[in-house]
């Protein structure tokens, strides 16, 4: 396993545990990163027990041994395992494999099994369209799920569903999969969560109180970031409408392979770096350009990638700390930020 020379400097819990700038900033925004005990509800607010979770996204593992992306995923696993206070769980936000091959999925599961914390996963398009998710499901379970954890409701959904374009065209499974390889593929069209998951989502949150913090994980962002590259979910408005009653909704996603931030209604959306390669920002104006990571140096194979750690505070706020392999972040988000 290769070791990043500055990984400890960027380690989330390392930052949190030191009386340094990051801790100062965290306290300045009202977050106590060291607090792990149960906190009672205060002032009518929903009780949240402070805790942490981590994110690893888009490993894009290829077949064969000793691929550079294998080592980069291993580095992300090490980053998370090196957190001084372990996250309660790690979210894998899709594209574990590049071609959806079983050996790639198995390799991803094997590397991710080295995490000390349990994982929850959602699929990406690269995992899905060779066998319509069969291999991914066998390795990682159901793609649609929810659970409650320390006062927060967590939701995972499959956001990369498209209408059937392969049956009429008589495509083989590999041909179907290959039309998802280019980010700007003209064939599959815009993907989304579709009606069945929308119905599930409506039932899932029907009995939840509006003051429950909700976190939703999708592979792609729940807003129209850049549809040409499927940086979107076609029915994201329906998702946001269903979640519209909640005071605090956080959406975390992968797919974009870079840091990005937005607020749409009550949804705060946060995109994470991949562990494989950084994608450039699309030719649009970002809603929050201060969250744009630095231009990656192509001669540094570590640059522009990494993992992320999130800390929930007692009021349901989240402190986000990206954990880049190299020095990829601008000053404004280098030491974390309150989402």
């Amino acid at each position: 396993m290769s070791v990043r020379k500055d990984s400890s400097r960027r380690n989330f819990m390392g930052l949190a545990g030191k009386a340094g700038l990051s801790t100062f900033m965290a306290q300045a925004v009202g977050v106590n990163l060291g607090l792990v005990d149960v906190v009672a509800a205060q002032g009518g607010k929903r009780a949240v027990t402070p805790f942490r979770f981590a994110m690893i996204s888009d490993p894009h593992l290829y077949s064969g041994n000793d691929h550079v992306f294998d080592r980069q995923l291993e580095d992300a696993v090490k980053q998370v395992n090196d957190m001084k206070t372990q996250p309660d769980f790690v979210l894998i936000t899709g594209d574990v494999s590049h071609h959806g091959e079983l050996d790639q999925i198995a390799k991803g599961k094997r590397i991710l099994s080295k995490l000390k914390a349990p994982i929850r996963s959602i699929p990406g398009e690269h995992d899905w369209y060779l066998d319509m998710g069969a291999g991914w499901r066998a390795a990682f379970g159901n793609e649609t799920w929810s659970f409650d954890h320390k006062g927060v409701h967590f939701i995972g959904m499959n956001s990369i569903l498209v209408p059937d374009f392969w049956t009429e065209a008589k495509l083989t499974p590999a041909q179907r999969r290959d039309w998802f390889m280019p980010l700007n593929s003209p064939v599959p069209g815009l993907w989304g969560v579709h009606d069945k998951q929308l119905e599930w989502l409506a039932k899932d949150v029907a009995n939840l109180s509006a003051d429950v913090p909700v976190v939703v994980f999708t592979h792609s962002p729940l807003w129209d970031y850049y549809p040409r590259w499927n940086f979107q979910v076609s029915d994201s408005k329906q998702v946001r409408d269903i979640l519209g009653k909640f005071v605090n909704v956080m959406g975390f996603h992968g797919h974009v392979h870079h840091t990005v931030y937005n607020k749409v209604g009550n949804l705060t959306s946060i995109g994470t770096m991949s562990t494989s390669w950084p994608w450039p920002y699309p030719p649009i104006d970002l809603p929050y350009p201060e969250f744009q990571q630095n231009r990656a140096d192509p001669s540094n194979t570590s640059d522009g990638m990494g993992s992320a750690g999130m800390a929930f505070d007692r009021d349901g706020g989240v402190f986000v700390q990206y954990q880049p392999f190299a020095d990829s972040l601008p000053a404004g988000i280098k030491n974390g930020f309150k989402a």
């Binding site: 280019p182 003209p186 390669w277 450039p280 630095n294 192509p298």
Partner: protein
């Protein structure tokens, strides 16, 4: 025989050969162009762009030994910034052309075999990348932002026909 006459005689053969070649391809290199001539030029250009597009997305296997293609990091040729070359790049420690950078990417992140810089395939990669950046101001030098990308409309139009599948019918 004067030097001038010797020079004319020396140039006569290649000029004659070029004239024959021009007649053979039925495309001249000066105005006024006929519609057929313009179409012929565009056909040649778009064929090269399409070849470049296919290579960009992995059509030539020897450009990588790890499965990666140009498009892994540069969808729509974003963040390639051909309009900024020639420029100094630290990995070369000198001023280089866009072709040099393309070969650097092929040899390093992709672990593949560099292209002959005078080959039609290298021209095709350039044709695709420059086509997407048409209209972008030439701005030689370092790029500070993550991307000075092409517009979406620049990424369409060079395919002679759609795939006929799905949303590309």
């Amino acid at each position: 025989m004067t030097t001038r006459i010797k020079l004319f005689r020396w140039l006569a053969v290649p000029f004659a050969a070029l004239s024959v070649l021009a007649l053979a391809t039925n495309v001249t290199a000066r105005e006024p162009f006929t519609a057929a001539e313009l179409q012929a030029k565009d056909d040649k250009l778009y064929a090269s762009i399409k070849r470049g597009y296919d290579m960009w997305y992995g059509a030539r296997a020897d450009m990588a030994n790890n499965g990666l293609a140009c498009a892994n990091c540069h969808p729509d040729a974003a963040a390639t910034n051909p309009q900024t070359f020639p420029k100094f790049l630290p990995m070369f420690n000198k001023v280089v052309t866009y072709r040099d950078m393309v070969n650097w990417c092929i040899e390093n992140p992709q672990g593949g075999k560099a292209l002959d810089v005078r080959s039609d395939d290298m021209t095709a990669l350039e044709a695709y990348s420059y086509y997407l950046h048409r209209g972008v101001k030439i701005d030689t030098g370092q790029v500070m932002r993550q991307t000075a990308g092409p517009t979406p409309n620049n990424a369409r139009g060079f395919r002679a026909q759609g795939t006929g599948i799905g949303f590309d019918k």
